[in-house]
Amino acid sequence: MPLDANTPDLRTEFKSVGTRPNRPDGVDKVTGRARFGADFSAPGQLVGLVLRSPHAHAKIKSIDTSAAEALPGVKAVITYKDIPEQAGCDKDVLVNIMARGTALYDGHAVAAVAATDAAVARKALKLIKVEYKVLKHVTDVDEAMKPGAPVIHPGRFEPVEFESLETASHVKGKEEKKTKTRAGSNIAGRYVFGHGDVDKGFKQADIIVEHEFKTEATHQGYIEPHACVASVSTDGMAELWVCTQGPFMVRDVCASLLGMDVSRLRVTPSEIGGGFGGKTTVFIEPVALALSRKAGKPVKVVMSRSEVFRCTGPTSSSSMWVRIGAKKDGTFVAADAVLKYQGGAFPGSPVEMGAMCAFACYDLRNVRIVGYDVVTNRPKQAAYRAPGAPMSAFAVEGVIGEIAEKLGMDAIDIRLKNAAKEGTVSSYGPTFGPVGLVETLEAAKAHKNYKVKLGKNQGRGVASGFWFNFAGNTCVSINLNVDGTLALALGTVDIGGSRASMCLIAAEELGISYDDVRAIIADTSSLGYNDISEGSRVTFSSGLATIKAVRDLKVRMCGRAAKIWGIPEDAVKWENGAAHPAGANAGGFDPLSIKEIAAQASATGGPLAGHYEVNAEGAGPSFATHVCDVEVDPETGAMKVLRYLVVQDAGKAIHPSYVEGQYQGGAVQGIGWVLNEEYFYGKDGTLQNAGFLDYRIPVCSDVPMIDTVIVEVPNPGHPYGVRGVGETSIVPPLACVANAVSSAIGVRARTLPMSPPKVLAALEGVNASKA
């Protein structure tokens, strides 16, 4: 996708890009000066707190707020009545931010207060009387699909008969017992992908492996709880300071929920203490605005950790079935999968993306994936790093690991034999352009970790993964300052060092020093609309827009030089940070540096700036291959990750340190998903482990160094070849670790997390069958 006639096909020589300078926001972050969500305060602000349902599913018969309102220091109490439904708003989001008649999950917001301090606000919450009628609940995806399961949204989703959905013999066989009666109406959606003839394909197979898999819900686990300060003036003008991945999304969604003109709400994003997809929607933001509107004062709302676990998005739990057929030489002939993801109390589980990613790594003639989006009495799931993909990869890569084992093939060789490459028709439709899966597999095979000899109870696992990468709406401005330095205004929140990458790109494009560019994240009134920082889109999209904004500025600067020299504009070119006379005028004038042009800006026509706005396309997919060594203690079932290698295609790494950081962070989140992390629900449907003590994310002593190899297969859709890198890294680890455990002790865990008691039980099962 050439940008325009002047865009070189692909830049391959770089001066700034690919170096590792300190990030511009770094000093503030190591000194405690950086302001995150909860670090902002407005003069005279109140403290806002939210009352939440203690029941998984309950009719709200009445809410009496009179005692709370009478408490001295309480300035506002709100319920759903204070947020009346607006035409055109997203009803699910509206219901999620404040229950309307029915509490749909443990922790669902029911009311909120704003008071002069936290102690008064806490007391006020206790004074709100809510009368509930507890309803039957369901939190498990398979249970929710059964006939007779409590229906979360009566009358909303048509009851579905499995028999009418599936014609394939195996699926029919699997679901036959259930098809006698209706399968319930918690099925919010069904997605089908694939091509070829799966039944015919399986007939050609020498070996067929099929299994069922389950994964539990895991939380994004960002260390910074959601926080915001809302200030609505009596004239209806409003400001919101908030930690979010998408300030423009927050602005537009809040305005639509509260019936405001978008222009009346200005959202300023704070530094963000992790998101991983979990901060791509709203929870407390419209509530804080509604409280502020009612109280007439600024209101600060900060979630507790327990609220973060109970009411913000974890990802889906899943129940899956995968079958793959292969020839003796390892060639896959057919692949089939049924994926069931529950997305909490509202439709929108990432099963569609899980289905699209499931077999995306492989060149398959015959492939089919059916996905079900299921609702349950759990919090509304939110995006979590490559949403939906890690679960389906866990199942698919596990089956592939078993096929390799049974055929006696090397785990990388079997993947190389079937790997998707340029020209492969993907299992979800599009034909791949240049992609780097083969390169990651080859680099993994060549890495020293793949040659380390393993000891007793040790095993090695391999898994590959895919993520699409997004592009989308993006808008960038670059302003030339009077001294020749530059201010770069970005609209994509910096989650993990993107300001550094954008400064590198601007410096590269201008031929100037990295230190002469300073990037900021603009508020929503200062820049055009930008999509959320999600989908691994920031370095690709904002990078592309930065390149184009700089090129716009360069044209203007060349124009000023032409004016000064009295020659035509097209007789000036930009090189090494300066305007040069070109063509017939070459050598006729001394070059004008960016600093010289800046100094004369006022005299030559006024301030200089560059802009670019685009709904970007051309994000290249990123593939990864992971290799992991584990040691399992057969006495306890505990496992230690000994070595971990991430090999991933970055297209072009702008700031390699932060690319490595994405690889390492994603891998460790994935390791947590395999080993420990899960949502525990009690029989009453309430979350039992809403804290970091019982929901155990990996700590420093749980993991080894995470080795990385950055493969660079340039993406032709970007002038520097960039691909997004943020998400693919969490796709392979679940299967990678599970495959390693299987190779260590012969136990195949197909239910996550594979915590020590589960591994031990499986081990005892294997030993018993041997005896």
Partner: protein
């Protein structure tokens, strides 16, 4: 509940504040004194983002009551750099990209400094166990551990240089070495 008047020392400065008896030291630092460098990730002592030193001991400030710090000395992230000079750990975190979002960074820096004050030559395992009370969700810990190990190496080099100039200093450094043994799992909580 009537408020409590407290006199204490923070980063070497005398500080007075009033707080309610149910306020944590973290609440006081953030909400009463405007020192928002210490972060609240959990409020239950599980994440370490609020780490400070209390009379030289590494503690989670969310587990210390504001009312009980009278007469004690507190060190927070705001006091880690000296003037415009970053602490070597801060410099190394910056250069080594040992932070992504940065919310856990103040806690890690305070905890790491506390380790290096006790043990200038920690093994990777010792670093990992010492920092096991600090959660990071972005980095996978790799670059954090490397930054701490690299800082320790630089500090040892600097110490060796200065002790080569002043032989007396070498003895003092040698005396400190048994502290290394305390850098094991749980030591920070037992200290």
């Amino acid at each position: 509940m009537s408020a409590v008047h407290v006199s204490t020392k923070i980063n070497g400065d005398d500080v007075e504040f009033v707080c309610r008896p149910d306020e944590s030291l973290l609440d006081v630092l953030r909400d009463r004194l405007g020192m928002t460098g210490s972060k609240e990730g959990c409020g239950t002592g599980d994440c370490g983002a609020c780490s400070v030193e209390l009379d030289g001991r590494l503690v989670c400030s969310c587990l210390v009551m504001g009312a009980e710090v009278g007469g004690h000395a507190i060190a927070t992230i705001e006091g880690m750099a000296q003037g415009d000079k970053l602490h070597p750990l801060q410099q190394k975190f910056l250069e080594g990209a040992a932070l992504q979002c940065g919310i856990c960074t103040p806690g890690f820096l305070i905890a790491a400094r506390s380790l290096l004050e006790r043990n200038m030559d920690p093994t990777e395992t010792e670093v990992r166990y010492w920092l096991a009370g600090n959660l990071c969700r972005c980095t996978g810990y790799d670059k954090i551990v490397r930054a701490v190990m690299d800082t320790a190496k630089d500090m040892r080099k600097a110490a060796a240089k200065s002790s080569a100039k002043k032989p007396a200093a070498k003895k003092a450094a040698a005396k400190k070495s048994p502290a290394k043994k305390t850098a094991k799992k749980g030591a920070r909580h037992a200290a």
